[in-house]
Symmetry: C2
Subunit: 283 residues, 2 copies
Protein backbone atom coordinates (compact mmCIF):
# COMPACT_ATOMS: atom_id res chain seq x y z
CA UNK A 1 0.00 0.00 0.00
CA UNK A 2 1.40 3.34 -1.07
CA UNK A 3 -1.46 5.84 -0.99
CA UNK A 4 -3.84 5.94 1.96
CA UNK A 5 -6.73 8.39 2.23
CA UNK A 6 -8.27 9.09 5.62
CA UNK A 7 -11.69 10.75 5.42
CA UNK A 8 -12.23 12.40 8.79
CA UNK A 9 -8.94 13.09 10.56
CA UNK A 10 -10.26 12.80 14.12
CA UNK A 11 -9.56 10.40 16.97
CA UNK A 12 -10.17 7.19 15.00
CA UNK A 13 -9.05 8.28 11.51
CA UNK A 14 -6.01 10.02 12.94
CA UNK A 15 -4.99 7.07 15.11
CA UNK A 16 -5.38 4.79 12.09
CA UNK A 17 -3.13 7.16 10.09
CA UNK A 18 -0.44 7.16 12.81
CA UNK A 19 -0.34 3.36 12.99
CA UNK A 20 -0.29 2.92 9.21
CA UNK A 21 2.59 5.39 8.93
CA UNK A 22 4.57 3.58 11.60
CA UNK A 23 3.92 0.06 10.24
CA UNK A 24 4.42 0.58 6.49
CA UNK A 25 7.33 2.06 4.57
CA UNK A 26 7.00 4.46 1.65
CA UNK A 27 3.38 5.17 2.39
CA UNK A 28 1.76 8.58 1.95
CA UNK A 29 -1.27 9.35 4.08
CA UNK A 30 -3.69 11.96 2.74
CA UNK A 31 -6.45 13.55 4.77
CA UNK A 32 -9.90 14.65 3.62
CA UNK A 33 -11.96 16.68 6.08
CA UNK A 34 -14.63 19.38 5.85
CA UNK A 35 -12.99 21.06 8.81
CA UNK A 36 -9.98 22.95 7.43
CA UNK A 37 -8.61 23.53 10.93
CA UNK A 38 -8.53 19.78 11.52
CA UNK A 39 -6.59 19.30 8.27
CA UNK A 40 -4.03 21.92 9.29
CA UNK A 41 -3.78 20.50 12.79
CA UNK A 42 -3.39 16.95 11.46
CA UNK A 43 -0.56 18.04 9.13
CA UNK A 44 1.16 20.01 11.92
CA UNK A 45 0.94 16.97 14.21
CA UNK A 46 2.27 14.75 11.39
CA UNK A 47 -0.89 12.65 11.65
CA UNK A 48 -1.30 13.02 7.85
CA UNK A 49 1.18 14.01 5.15
CA UNK A 50 -1.05 16.19 2.97
CA UNK A 51 -4.59 17.27 2.19
CA UNK A 52 -6.60 15.68 -0.63
CA UNK A 53 -10.04 15.83 -2.28
CA UNK A 54 -12.55 13.13 -3.22
CA UNK A 55 -11.40 13.51 -6.86
CA UNK A 56 -7.96 12.18 -5.87
CA UNK A 57 -9.34 8.85 -4.64
CA UNK A 58 -8.68 7.14 -7.98
CA UNK A 59 -5.06 6.86 -6.75
CA UNK A 60 -5.99 5.29 -3.42
CA UNK A 61 -4.92 1.84 -2.30
CA UNK A 62 -7.00 2.29 0.82
CA UNK A 63 -9.71 4.71 1.95
CA UNK A 64 -10.69 4.84 5.63
CA UNK A 65 -14.07 6.46 6.25
CA UNK A 66 -13.96 7.82 9.81
CA UNK A 67 -16.72 10.46 10.00
CA UNK A 68 -19.99 10.65 11.97
CA UNK A 69 -22.35 7.84 10.94
CA UNK A 70 -24.97 10.11 9.38
CA UNK A 71 -22.46 11.83 7.07
CA UNK A 72 -20.90 8.45 6.27
CA UNK A 73 -24.18 7.34 4.66
CA UNK A 74 -23.99 10.31 2.26
CA UNK A 75 -20.24 10.19 1.61
CA UNK A 76 -19.69 6.47 1.08
CA UNK A 77 -21.54 6.28 -2.29
CA UNK A 78 -19.52 9.29 -3.51
CA UNK A 79 -16.28 7.69 -2.33
CA UNK A 80 -17.10 4.46 -4.14
CA UNK A 81 -17.81 6.49 -7.26
CA UNK A 82 -14.33 8.04 -7.24
CA UNK A 83 -12.10 5.06 -6.40
CA UNK A 84 -10.26 2.65 -8.69
CA UNK A 85 -11.29 -1.00 -9.08
CA UNK A 86 -8.53 -2.13 -6.76
CA UNK A 87 -9.21 0.33 -3.95
CA UNK A 88 -10.31 -0.98 -0.55
CA UNK A 89 -12.71 1.24 1.41
CA UNK A 90 -13.69 0.51 4.97
CA UNK A 91 -15.66 2.50 7.52
CA UNK A 92 -15.28 2.47 11.31
CA UNK A 93 -18.79 3.51 12.39
CA UNK A 94 -20.55 2.44 15.56
CA UNK A 95 -23.73 1.41 13.66
CA UNK A 96 -23.56 -1.12 10.84
CA UNK A 97 -27.04 -1.82 9.40
CA UNK A 98 -27.66 1.63 7.88
CA UNK A 99 -24.31 1.80 6.07
CA UNK A 100 -24.60 -1.74 4.75
CA UNK A 101 -28.09 -0.91 3.47
CA UNK A 102 -26.92 2.38 1.96
CA UNK A 103 -24.53 0.64 -0.45
CA UNK A 104 -26.28 -2.70 -0.84
CA UNK A 105 -27.06 -2.06 -4.51
CA UNK A 106 -24.00 0.03 -5.26
CA UNK A 107 -22.05 -1.26 -8.30
CA UNK A 108 -18.86 -1.03 -6.24
CA UNK A 109 -20.24 -2.73 -3.12
CA UNK A 110 -17.39 -5.27 -3.40
CA UNK A 111 -14.80 -2.53 -2.78
CA UNK A 112 -16.33 -1.79 0.63
CA UNK A 113 -15.82 -3.53 3.97
CA UNK A 114 -18.06 -2.63 6.91
CA UNK A 115 -15.96 -2.51 10.09
CA UNK A 116 -16.23 -1.31 13.68
CA UNK A 117 -12.99 -1.23 15.65
CA UNK A 118 -13.93 -1.29 19.35
CA UNK A 119 -11.42 1.38 20.27
CA UNK A 120 -11.50 4.99 21.26
CA UNK A 121 -11.39 7.48 24.08
CA UNK A 122 -13.77 10.21 25.20
CA UNK A 123 -11.75 12.81 23.25
CA UNK A 124 -12.05 13.92 19.61
CA UNK A 125 -10.23 15.74 16.81
CA UNK A 126 -6.73 15.18 15.36
CA UNK A 127 -5.01 16.00 18.67
CA UNK A 128 -6.85 13.03 20.22
CA UNK A 129 -5.14 10.60 17.82
CA UNK A 130 -2.81 8.16 19.59
CA UNK A 131 -0.42 5.49 18.29
CA UNK A 132 -1.27 1.86 19.09
CA UNK A 133 -4.95 2.64 19.80
CA UNK A 134 -6.09 -0.50 17.98
CA UNK A 135 -3.59 -2.93 19.47
CA UNK A 136 -5.31 -5.98 21.04
CA UNK A 137 -8.76 -4.44 20.39
CA UNK A 138 -11.69 -6.25 18.78
CA UNK A 139 -12.73 -5.27 15.28
CA UNK A 140 -16.24 -6.30 14.24
CA UNK A 141 -16.59 -6.96 10.51
CA UNK A 142 -20.03 -7.21 8.93
CA UNK A 143 -21.11 -8.86 5.66
CA UNK A 144 -17.53 -9.85 4.85
CA UNK A 145 -18.82 -12.05 2.02
CA UNK A 146 -19.96 -8.96 0.13
CA UNK A 147 -16.38 -7.69 -0.15
CA UNK A 148 -14.08 -8.90 -2.95
CA UNK A 149 -11.68 -11.71 -1.90
CA UNK A 150 -8.52 -9.74 -2.61
CA UNK A 151 -9.79 -6.72 -0.70
CA UNK A 152 -10.90 -8.89 2.24
CA UNK A 153 -7.34 -10.18 2.32
CA UNK A 154 -5.85 -6.68 2.16
CA UNK A 155 -8.08 -5.50 5.02
CA UNK A 156 -7.35 -8.50 7.22
CA UNK A 157 -3.62 -8.05 6.72
CA UNK A 158 -3.89 -4.40 7.78
CA UNK A 159 -6.03 -5.19 10.84
CA UNK A 160 -3.57 -7.94 11.78
CA UNK A 161 -0.61 -5.56 11.39
CA UNK A 162 -2.41 -3.14 13.71
CA UNK A 163 -2.82 -5.94 16.28
CA UNK A 164 -6.60 -6.26 16.12
CA UNK A 165 -8.73 -9.32 16.96
CA UNK A 166 -11.27 -9.92 14.17
CA UNK A 167 -14.90 -10.87 14.89
CA UNK A 168 -17.49 -11.49 12.16
CA UNK A 169 -21.11 -10.59 12.76
CA UNK A 170 -24.18 -9.64 10.78
CA UNK A 171 -25.06 -5.92 10.93
CA UNK A 172 -28.41 -6.46 12.67
CA UNK A 173 -26.80 -8.47 15.48
CA UNK A 174 -23.95 -5.94 15.72
CA UNK A 175 -26.34 -3.02 16.17
CA UNK A 176 -28.41 -4.88 18.74
CA UNK A 177 -25.48 -5.94 20.93
CA UNK A 178 -23.43 -2.77 20.61
CA UNK A 179 -26.44 -0.89 21.98
CA UNK A 180 -25.90 -2.78 25.26
CA UNK A 181 -22.12 -2.68 25.62
CA UNK A 182 -21.46 0.75 24.18
CA UNK A 183 -24.42 2.99 23.40
CA UNK A 184 -26.17 2.44 26.76
CA UNK A 185 -22.92 3.11 28.67
CA UNK A 186 -22.72 6.51 27.04
CA UNK A 187 -26.31 7.44 27.93
CA UNK A 188 -25.80 6.15 31.46
CA UNK A 189 -22.72 8.38 31.86
CA UNK A 190 -24.33 11.44 30.25
CA UNK A 191 -27.43 11.22 32.44
CA UNK A 192 -25.37 10.58 35.59
CA UNK A 193 -23.35 13.69 34.78
CA UNK A 194 -26.55 15.67 34.17
CA UNK A 195 -28.13 14.49 37.44
CA UNK A 196 -25.11 15.60 39.45
CA UNK A 197 -24.55 18.86 37.55
CA UNK A 198 -28.21 19.83 38.00
CA UNK A 199 -27.66 19.46 41.74
CA UNK A 200 -24.38 21.32 41.65
CA UNK A 201 -26.02 24.49 40.33
CA UNK A 202 -27.09 25.18 43.90
CA UNK A 203 -24.38 23.35 45.74
CA UNK A 204 -20.90 24.41 44.69
CA UNK A 205 -19.09 22.09 47.05
CA UNK A 206 -20.41 18.87 45.68
CA UNK A 207 -17.70 18.14 43.13
CA UNK A 208 -14.97 18.60 45.68
CA UNK A 209 -16.39 15.45 47.26
CA UNK A 210 -16.18 13.44 44.06
CA UNK A 211 -13.57 10.73 43.79
CA UNK A 212 -12.11 8.48 41.15
CA UNK A 213 -15.20 6.25 41.18
CA UNK A 214 -17.41 9.11 40.03
CA UNK A 215 -14.83 10.14 37.45
CA UNK A 216 -14.70 6.65 35.98
CA UNK A 217 -18.48 6.29 35.83
CA UNK A 218 -19.11 9.63 34.08
CA UNK A 219 -16.00 9.62 31.88
CA UNK A 220 -17.99 8.94 28.70
CA UNK A 221 -20.07 12.09 29.31
CA UNK A 222 -17.10 13.99 27.86
CA UNK A 223 -17.82 12.40 24.47
CA UNK A 224 -18.73 14.40 21.38
CA UNK A 225 -22.48 15.07 20.87
CA UNK A 226 -21.77 15.54 17.15
CA UNK A 227 -20.57 11.98 16.91
CA UNK A 228 -23.10 10.41 19.25
CA UNK A 229 -26.39 12.02 18.21
CA UNK A 230 -26.43 10.32 14.77
CA UNK A 231 -25.41 6.99 16.34
CA UNK A 232 -28.42 7.11 18.69
CA UNK A 233 -30.63 8.18 15.77
CA UNK A 234 -29.50 5.32 13.53
CA UNK A 235 -29.79 2.76 16.33
CA UNK A 236 -32.96 4.20 17.81
CA UNK A 237 -34.98 1.01 18.35
CA UNK A 238 -32.16 -0.95 19.95
CA UNK A 239 -31.11 1.95 22.15
CA UNK A 240 -34.68 2.49 23.37
CA UNK A 241 -34.86 -1.21 24.26
CA UNK A 242 -31.68 -1.04 26.34
CA UNK A 243 -32.89 2.14 28.03
CA UNK A 244 -36.17 0.48 28.97
CA UNK A 245 -34.35 -2.44 30.57
CA UNK A 246 -31.88 -0.18 32.35
CA UNK A 247 -34.62 2.10 33.72
CA UNK A 248 -36.59 -0.95 34.81
CA UNK A 249 -33.57 -2.33 36.71
CA UNK A 250 -32.97 1.03 38.40
CA UNK A 251 -36.66 1.23 39.30
CA UNK A 252 -36.48 -2.26 40.80
CA UNK A 253 -33.46 -1.22 42.87
CA UNK A 254 -35.41 1.81 44.10
CA UNK A 255 -38.39 -0.42 44.93
CA UNK A 256 -36.17 -2.64 47.09
CA UNK A 257 -34.86 0.47 48.87
CA UNK A 258 -38.35 1.84 49.50
CA UNK A 259 -39.53 -1.52 50.83
CA UNK A 260 -36.45 -1.72 53.13
CA UNK A 261 -35.59 -4.98 51.38
CA UNK A 262 -31.83 -4.75 51.81
CA UNK A 263 -31.42 -8.47 51.26
CA UNK A 264 -32.81 -7.75 47.78
CA UNK A 265 -30.31 -4.88 47.38
CA UNK A 266 -27.45 -7.16 48.50
CA UNK A 267 -28.47 -9.86 46.03
CA UNK A 268 -28.75 -7.41 43.15
CA UNK A 269 -25.15 -6.38 43.73
CA UNK A 270 -23.88 -9.88 44.51
CA UNK A 271 -25.37 -11.24 41.28
CA UNK A 272 -23.69 -8.50 39.27
CA UNK A 273 -20.31 -8.89 40.96
CA UNK A 274 -19.17 -11.56 38.50
CA UNK A 275 -18.73 -8.71 36.03
CA UNK A 276 -15.20 -8.88 37.53
CA UNK A 277 -14.45 -12.08 35.65
CA UNK A 278 -16.18 -10.83 32.51
CA UNK A 279 -14.22 -7.58 32.46
CA UNK A 280 -10.92 -9.43 32.79
CA UNK A 281 -11.33 -10.35 29.16
CA UNK A 282 -11.64 -6.72 28.02
CA UNK A 283 -8.50 -5.06 26.84
CA UNK B 1 2.41 8.12 67.83
CA UNK B 2 3.72 4.70 68.82
CA UNK B 3 0.78 2.34 68.89
CA UNK B 4 -1.80 2.38 66.11
CA UNK B 5 -4.80 0.06 65.99
CA UNK B 6 -6.58 -0.56 62.72
CA UNK B 7 -10.04 -2.07 63.12
CA UNK B 8 -10.89 -3.68 59.76
CA UNK B 9 -7.72 -4.49 57.81
CA UNK B 10 -9.27 -4.10 54.34
CA UNK B 11 -8.65 -1.71 51.46
CA UNK B 12 -8.99 1.50 53.50
CA UNK B 13 -7.71 0.34 56.89
CA UNK B 14 -4.84 -1.53 55.24
CA UNK B 15 -3.83 1.40 53.04
CA UNK B 16 -3.93 3.68 56.09
CA UNK B 17 -1.65 1.21 57.93
CA UNK B 18 0.84 1.11 55.05
CA UNK B 19 1.08 4.91 54.88
CA UNK B 20 1.41 5.31 58.64
CA UNK B 21 4.19 2.71 58.74
CA UNK B 22 6.06 4.48 55.96
CA UNK B 23 5.65 8.01 57.38
CA UNK B 24 6.38 7.42 61.08
CA UNK B 25 9.33 5.81 62.82
CA UNK B 26 9.09 3.40 65.76
CA UNK B 27 5.39 2.85 65.23
CA UNK B 28 3.67 -0.49 65.73
CA UNK B 29 0.48 -1.12 63.79
CA UNK B 30 -1.96 -3.63 65.26
CA UNK B 31 -4.91 -5.10 63.41
CA UNK B 32 -8.31 -6.08 64.78
CA UNK B 33 -10.61 -7.99 62.45
CA UNK B 34 -13.37 -10.59 62.84
CA UNK B 35 -11.99 -12.31 59.77
CA UNK B 36 -8.98 -14.34 60.95
CA UNK B 37 -7.86 -14.93 57.35
CA UNK B 38 -7.67 -11.18 56.79
CA UNK B 39 -5.50 -10.81 59.91
CA UNK B 40 -3.13 -13.53 58.71
CA UNK B 41 -3.04 -12.09 55.20
CA UNK B 42 -2.41 -8.56 56.53
CA UNK B 43 0.51 -9.79 58.67
CA UNK B 44 1.95 -11.82 55.77
CA UNK B 45 1.72 -8.75 53.50
CA UNK B 46 3.32 -6.60 56.25
CA UNK B 47 0.25 -4.37 56.21
CA UNK B 48 0.06 -4.76 60.00
CA UNK B 49 2.65 -5.88 62.54
CA UNK B 50 0.48 -7.99 64.85
CA UNK B 51 -3.04 -8.91 65.85
CA UNK B 52 -4.81 -7.26 68.79
CA UNK B 53 -8.12 -7.29 70.66
CA UNK B 54 -10.45 -4.49 71.78
CA UNK B 55 -9.11 -4.97 75.33
CA UNK B 56 -5.68 -3.75 74.15
CA UNK B 57 -6.99 -0.37 73.02
CA UNK B 58 -6.05 1.29 76.31
CA UNK B 59 -2.52 1.42 74.87
CA UNK B 60 -3.57 3.06 71.62
CA UNK B 61 -2.42 6.48 70.45
CA UNK B 62 -4.72 6.15 67.45
CA UNK B 63 -7.60 3.85 66.48
CA UNK B 64 -8.81 3.79 62.87
CA UNK B 65 -12.29 2.32 62.46
CA UNK B 66 -12.48 0.98 58.89
CA UNK B 67 -15.34 -1.52 58.89
CA UNK B 68 -18.75 -1.57 57.14
CA UNK B 69 -20.91 1.34 58.33
CA UNK B 70 -23.52 -0.85 60.05
CA UNK B 71 -20.94 -2.68 62.17
CA UNK B 72 -19.19 0.63 62.87
CA UNK B 73 -22.31 1.87 64.72
CA UNK B 74 -22.09 -1.13 67.06
CA UNK B 75 -18.32 -1.18 67.49
CA UNK B 76 -17.56 2.51 68.00
CA UNK B 77 -19.18 2.75 71.46
CA UNK B 78 -17.23 -0.36 72.53
CA UNK B 79 -14.01 1.11 71.16
CA UNK B 80 -14.57 4.36 73.04
CA UNK B 81 -15.17 2.33 76.18
CA UNK B 82 -11.76 0.64 75.94
CA UNK B 83 -9.46 3.52 74.97
CA UNK B 84 -7.39 5.84 77.16
CA UNK B 85 -8.24 9.52 77.64
CA UNK B 86 -5.57 10.56 75.15
CA UNK B 87 -6.54 8.15 72.37
CA UNK B 88 -7.79 9.55 69.05
CA UNK B 89 -10.40 7.44 67.25
CA UNK B 90 -11.58 8.24 63.74
CA UNK B 91 -13.80 6.36 61.32
CA UNK B 92 -13.67 6.40 57.50
CA UNK B 93 -17.26 5.51 56.63
CA UNK B 94 -19.20 6.71 53.61
CA UNK B 95 -22.18 7.86 55.72
CA UNK B 96 -21.72 10.33 58.54
CA UNK B 97 -25.07 11.18 60.19
CA UNK B 98 -25.74 7.74 61.74
CA UNK B 99 -22.29 7.41 63.33
CA UNK B 100 -22.36 10.96 64.68
CA UNK B 101 -25.78 10.26 66.18
CA UNK B 102 -24.66 6.91 67.61
CA UNK B 103 -22.05 8.53 69.88
CA UNK B 104 -23.65 11.93 70.39
CA UNK B 105 -24.21 11.29 74.10
CA UNK B 106 -21.19 9.06 74.63
CA UNK B 107 -19.01 10.24 77.56
CA UNK B 108 -15.97 9.90 75.28
CA UNK B 109 -17.45 11.68 72.27
CA UNK B 110 -14.49 14.10 72.35
CA UNK B 111 -12.06 11.28 71.57
CA UNK B 112 -13.83 10.62 68.27
CA UNK B 113 -13.47 12.37 64.90
CA UNK B 114 -15.93 11.58 62.09
CA UNK B 115 -14.05 11.40 58.78
CA UNK B 116 -14.59 10.26 55.22
CA UNK B 117 -11.50 10.05 53.06
CA UNK B 118 -12.67 10.17 49.42
CA UNK B 119 -10.34 7.40 48.33
CA UNK B 120 -10.63 3.80 47.33
CA UNK B 121 -10.82 1.32 44.51
CA UNK B 122 -13.38 -1.30 43.53
CA UNK B 123 -11.35 -4.00 45.33
CA UNK B 124 -11.45 -5.10 48.95
CA UNK B 125 -9.54 -7.01 51.64
CA UNK B 126 -5.92 -6.62 52.88
CA UNK B 127 -4.47 -7.48 49.45
CA UNK B 128 -6.27 -4.43 48.03
CA UNK B 129 -4.30 -2.09 50.34
CA UNK B 130 -1.99 0.26 48.44
CA UNK B 131 0.57 2.82 49.59
CA UNK B 132 -0.17 6.47 48.85
CA UNK B 133 -3.91 5.87 48.38
CA UNK B 134 -4.79 9.04 50.30
CA UNK B 135 -2.30 11.38 48.66
CA UNK B 136 -3.99 14.50 47.22
CA UNK B 137 -7.45 13.10 48.06
CA UNK B 138 -10.19 15.02 49.86
CA UNK B 139 -11.04 14.07 53.42
CA UNK B 140 -14.43 15.23 54.69
CA UNK B 141 -14.51 15.89 58.43
CA UNK B 142 -17.83 16.26 60.24
CA UNK B 143 -18.63 17.93 63.57
CA UNK B 144 -14.97 18.77 64.17
CA UNK B 145 -15.97 21.01 67.06
CA UNK B 146 -17.13 17.95 69.02
CA UNK B 147 -13.60 16.52 69.08
CA UNK B 148 -11.06 17.60 71.74
CA UNK B 149 -8.63 20.31 70.54
CA UNK B 150 -5.51 18.21 71.05
CA UNK B 151 -7.02 15.27 69.20
CA UNK B 152 -8.22 17.51 66.34
CA UNK B 153 -4.62 18.64 66.05
CA UNK B 154 -3.27 15.08 66.09
CA UNK B 155 -5.73 14.03 63.38
CA UNK B 156 -5.00 17.01 61.14
CA UNK B 157 -1.27 16.39 61.41
CA UNK B 158 -1.77 12.77 60.34
CA UNK B 159 -4.06 13.68 57.42
CA UNK B 160 -1.58 16.31 56.35
CA UNK B 161 1.30 13.81 56.55
CA UNK B 162 -0.74 11.48 54.32
CA UNK B 163 -1.21 14.31 51.78
CA UNK B 164 -4.95 14.80 52.19
CA UNK B 165 -7.00 17.96 51.51
CA UNK B 166 -9.33 18.65 54.45
CA UNK B 167 -12.95 19.75 53.98
CA UNK B 168 -15.33 20.46 56.87
CA UNK B 169 -19.01 19.72 56.49
CA UNK B 170 -21.98 18.88 58.66
CA UNK B 171 -23.03 15.21 58.58
CA UNK B 172 -26.46 15.90 57.05
CA UNK B 173 -24.95 17.85 54.13
CA UNK B 174 -22.24 15.21 53.70
CA UNK B 175 -24.76 12.40 53.39
CA UNK B 176 -26.92 14.36 50.96
CA UNK B 177 -24.09 15.30 48.59
CA UNK B 178 -22.16 12.06 48.77
CA UNK B 179 -25.35 10.30 47.59
CA UNK B 180 -24.94 12.19 44.29
CA UNK B 181 -21.20 11.93 43.69
CA UNK B 182 -20.60 8.46 45.07
CA UNK B 183 -23.59 6.36 46.03
CA UNK B 184 -25.54 6.99 42.80
CA UNK B 185 -22.45 6.19 40.68
CA UNK B 186 -22.29 2.77 42.30
CA UNK B 187 -25.96 2.00 41.66
CA UNK B 188 -25.63 3.28 38.09
CA UNK B 189 -22.69 0.93 37.50
CA UNK B 190 -24.31 -2.07 39.21
CA UNK B 191 -27.54 -1.72 37.22
CA UNK B 192 -25.66 -1.15 33.95
CA UNK B 193 -23.74 -4.35 34.63
CA UNK B 194 -26.97 -6.19 35.45
CA UNK B 195 -28.70 -4.95 32.30
CA UNK B 196 -25.89 -6.19 30.09
CA UNK B 197 -25.33 -9.47 31.97
CA UNK B 198 -29.05 -10.28 31.76
CA UNK B 199 -28.73 -9.93 27.99
CA UNK B 200 -25.53 -11.92 27.86
CA UNK B 201 -27.21 -15.02 29.31
CA UNK B 202 -28.56 -15.65 25.84
CA UNK B 203 -25.88 -13.95 23.81
CA UNK B 204 -22.40 -15.17 24.65
CA UNK B 205 -20.65 -12.92 22.17
CA UNK B 206 -21.77 -9.65 23.61
CA UNK B 207 -18.85 -9.05 25.97
CA UNK B 208 -16.33 -9.62 23.25
CA UNK B 209 -17.72 -6.40 21.77
CA UNK B 210 -17.21 -4.40 24.93
CA UNK B 211 -14.46 -1.79 24.99
CA UNK B 212 -12.74 0.38 27.54
CA UNK B 213 -15.73 2.74 27.69
CA UNK B 214 -17.99 -0.01 28.99
CA UNK B 215 -15.30 -1.14 31.41
CA UNK B 216 -14.90 2.34 32.84
CA UNK B 217 -18.65 2.85 33.25
CA UNK B 218 -19.29 -0.48 35.04
CA UNK B 219 -16.04 -0.58 37.02
CA UNK B 220 -17.78 0.17 40.34
CA UNK B 221 -20.03 -2.89 39.86
CA UNK B 222 -17.06 -4.92 41.10
CA UNK B 223 -17.47 -3.31 44.53
CA UNK B 224 -18.26 -5.30 47.68
CA UNK B 225 -21.99 -5.80 48.43
CA UNK B 226 -21.07 -6.33 52.10
CA UNK B 227 -19.70 -2.83 52.26
CA UNK B 228 -22.32 -1.13 50.08
CA UNK B 229 -25.60 -2.62 51.35
CA UNK B 230 -25.33 -0.94 54.79
CA UNK B 231 -24.29 2.36 53.14
CA UNK B 232 -27.44 2.38 51.01
CA UNK B 233 -29.49 1.40 54.07
CA UNK B 234 -28.09 4.19 56.23
CA UNK B 235 -28.45 6.77 53.46
CA UNK B 236 -31.78 5.48 52.19
CA UNK B 237 -33.71 8.76 51.79
CA UNK B 238 -30.91 10.61 49.99
CA UNK B 239 -30.13 7.67 47.72
CA UNK B 240 -33.79 7.28 46.75
CA UNK B 241 -33.89 10.99 45.87
CA UNK B 242 -30.84 10.69 43.58
CA UNK B 243 -32.30 7.56 41.98
CA UNK B 244 -35.56 9.36 41.26
CA UNK B 245 -33.72 12.21 39.53
CA UNK B 246 -31.48 9.85 37.60
CA UNK B 247 -34.40 7.70 36.42
CA UNK B 248 -36.32 10.83 35.45
CA UNK B 249 -33.37 12.08 33.36
CA UNK B 250 -33.03 8.70 31.63
CA UNK B 251 -36.77 8.67 30.98
CA UNK B 252 -36.55 12.16 29.47
CA UNK B 253 -33.72 10.99 27.20
CA UNK B 254 -35.88 8.04 26.11
CA UNK B 255 -38.81 10.40 25.47
CA UNK B 256 -36.64 12.50 23.16
CA UNK B 257 -35.57 9.35 21.31
CA UNK B 258 -39.16 8.13 20.92
CA UNK B 259 -40.28 11.52 19.64
CA UNK B 260 -37.37 11.59 17.15
CA UNK B 261 -36.25 14.80 18.84
CA UNK B 262 -32.55 14.42 18.16
CA UNK B 263 -31.94 18.11 18.66
CA UNK B 264 -33.14 17.47 22.22
CA UNK B 265 -30.73 14.49 22.45
CA UNK B 266 -27.87 16.63 21.15
CA UNK B 267 -28.60 19.39 23.68
CA UNK B 268 -28.80 16.95 26.59
CA UNK B 269 -25.28 15.77 25.75
CA UNK B 270 -23.92 19.21 24.91
CA UNK B 271 -25.15 20.63 28.21
CA UNK B 272 -23.45 17.84 30.13
CA UNK B 273 -20.18 18.08 28.22
CA UNK B 274 -18.76 20.70 30.59
CA UNK B 275 -18.27 17.84 33.04
CA UNK B 276 -14.85 17.85 31.30
CA UNK B 277 -13.86 21.01 33.14
CA UNK B 278 -15.42 19.85 36.38
CA UNK B 279 -13.61 16.51 36.30
CA UNK B 280 -10.27 18.22 35.78
CA UNK B 281 -10.42 19.17 39.43
CA UNK B 282 -10.77 15.56 40.60
CA UNK B 283 -7.63 13.80 41.63
Amino acid sequence: MKQIYIIGVGLIGGSMALDIKSKYENVTVFGIDNNQKHIEEAIALKVIDAEAKLEDLQNADLVVLAIPVDVALLELPKVLHHIADTTLVFDVGSTKSPICQAVEQHPRRRNFLAAHPIAGTEFSGPSAAIPGLFNAKANIICEVEKTAFKLQEKALQLFSDLGMRIRYMNPVAHDKHIAYVSHLSHISAFMLGKTVIDKERNERDIFDMAGSGFESTVRLAKSSPNMWTPIFKQNKDNVIETLEEYISNLQQFKNYMEADDFEGIFNEMKNTNHIKEILKGIK
